[in-house]
């Protein structure tokens, strides 16, 4: 089975096949080949041996979006098999045009909107103030450009990931 995984913006194409027993796998990555022993120690716990090296992971998330937690911290990863990936990447490219969508990073309440429709903003300029968990946080423009859409008004409650403002 061939996969493609993105970690910190970098794509890794690799292939996994089962070898012999149920827990033995071979992974091919670039010019390297790794023989792995994989055990599941719990619903989200994986113990992996490569040679004598131990790797212990908790894998959470859904579908393609995974978080892999270990003693070294959490690695976020997007994974899919190659066929699915082709479709996904086309739509991703479309989204990455010259526009920036500012979304709520957490659920909260809009305290104030600091820009007006049509305003030209510079990177880092304050755009919105959102209150969450008793703290006010100013959201700054991720890129310079023109405010082409404002989706929220002061006092409004927003969910995590909700679209707030579009800058182009």
């Amino acid at each position: 089975m061939r996969y493609i995984a993105t970690i910190a913006g970098q794509d890794h194409e690799f292939e996994v096949e089962q070898t012999g027993e149920q827990n033995s796998f071979r992974l091919r990555l670039a010019d390297n080949r790794y023989d792995l022993d994989l055990r599941r120690a719990g619903p989200s716990s994986f113990s992996i041996l490569i040679g004598d090296r131990v790797f212990d992971f908790e894998v959470t998330g859904e579908g393609e979006d995974l978080a892999i937690a270990s003693r070294e911290g959490v690695t976020r990863i997007v994974i899919s098999d190659l066929a699915r990936r082709a479709a996904t990447s086309r739509s991703a490219r479309a989204a990455q045009s010259g526009r920036a969508e500012m979304r709520a990073m957490m659920p909260g309440r809009v305290v104030s909107v600091l820009v007006s429709l049509g305003d030209e903003v510079a990177t880092g300029a304050g755009v919105l103030v959102i209150e969450a968990m008793k703290m006010e946080n100013e959201l700054k423009a991720p890129k310079s450009g023109k405010v082409i859409e404002i989706r929220v008004v002061p006092g409004q409650t927003v969910e995590k990931g909700e679209l707030l403002v579009i800058i182009e």
């Binding site: 992974l27 792995l36 994989l38 716990s45 992996i48 859904e62 070294e72 659920p107 968990m133 006010e136």
Partner: protein, 502 residues
Amino acid sequence: MFKRVLIANRGEIAVRVIRACRELEIETVAIFSDADRAALHVREADFAVPVGPPPATDSYLRIDRIIEAARRTGAEAIHPGYGFFSENAGFARAVAEAGLVFIGPPPGAIEKMGDKVEARKLMTAAGVPVVPGSPDVLETEAQVRAVAAEIGFPIMLKAAAGGGGKGMREVHRGEELASALRAVIGEAKSSFGSSRFYVEKYLNRPRHIEVQVLADTQGHTVHLFERECSIQRRHQKVVEESPSPFVTPAMRQAMGAVAVRAAKAVGYVSAGTIEFLADADRNFYFLEMNTRIQVEHAITELVTGVDLVKEQIRIAAGAPLPFKQADLTQRGAAVECRIYAEDPENGFAPAPGKIATLRFPDGPGVRVDTGVYQGAEVPIHYDPMIAKLATWGRDRGEAIDRMRRALDEFVIAGELRTNLDLHRWLMRHPQFLGGEYDNNFLEKEYRPPTEESLEGERLAAILMAAAAAYKNHSAPTGVKIMALQPPASAWKIAARLDLLRR
């Protein structure tokens, strides 16, 4: 001793108080908002009473409902924890008027220390050194400018009723004054219901060092040495340690004596903390008194061996302190890391959510206090601190070695994000290891780490785990790794159902 105590709080401090009560064989009553029905403090209590909808002002800050909950369950005393009503004299009075015992200081002491401006005056009168600043409450920007002209920038603008890092801004230049003033007044109003503020000199390389005190109803007051809390972000403590690597034995003795004097000046009873700012020359100034148990009390417990929460309860029941000042010693060293549900890559904005997986460290010298569990939802309505990790060692070096080890064992993942990486970074930072830091350290030094570039076996292992989890989750084609269905998606369904019900 009390037969039953109500805890007017939530999260780790509610669980902490429940533990203290259980060790004293006192039954516990939890209160909960609709968001906390399945929270750990509810699960651990003997009784639990709902007090309203998720927003704290509708539940945890409803005096009437809390008093009624105590009456209904037959609780004889109320422990306020920290935050919420812990420093609210009105609440303490309402508790007393209901014929119940408030486990904390007398309302008068709360009031005297609660108004930061009045407290400064009182302390000055008692011979306690205070930070230079406005002698009284200010009202206009012009007044602030006048004080600033006198003591010089940088200055701190502070809400008179403030505390816990809220309602304060530092101002380095005159241009910043107007917006900072608006922010302080706004936060002061919304958090404390009062817009009164004052000004303090912002010290050069200040270190936040505080002294724990305990006072009983018989007039005995002792201090339990210092904690250093200079590792801060946005004036919120992130890491604390005891003893302070900065404090000399002479300074320790002087601070302890001053702290006892300050507590006695307001007729203090129960556990409290005198916060000081120390400058680079080891001058120290009274900053404020926290008239409650503090988040970071655990490190004092580790170093002195005294259970501060149990002492609070015993004192409230009228018992004298079981030790004198001379009986108290510091043994070894302790460090505490506050684990927040926040996103370091997004300016440490709160990042709550479901905890899908959770493994706490344990073993020698490690203590975890938490209000969450695997599968718990960290609600968006409250403080994002989800756990406190404290370690003890024979000396500071061992305490830090253990903290590094404990942080490595601490595994948490799910919808939420945490600041674990910040702690891992800090426990390896030469300046922290050398004890050479001040209140500005984090703001100056910390940048979220760029993602490590993964390679070799580690990358292969991560990819394998991802493929296994992905495969397991997606359609059953190709390699079948395990018969197990990962419960993540089932959780999600349950979580959504929960959400719909609320």
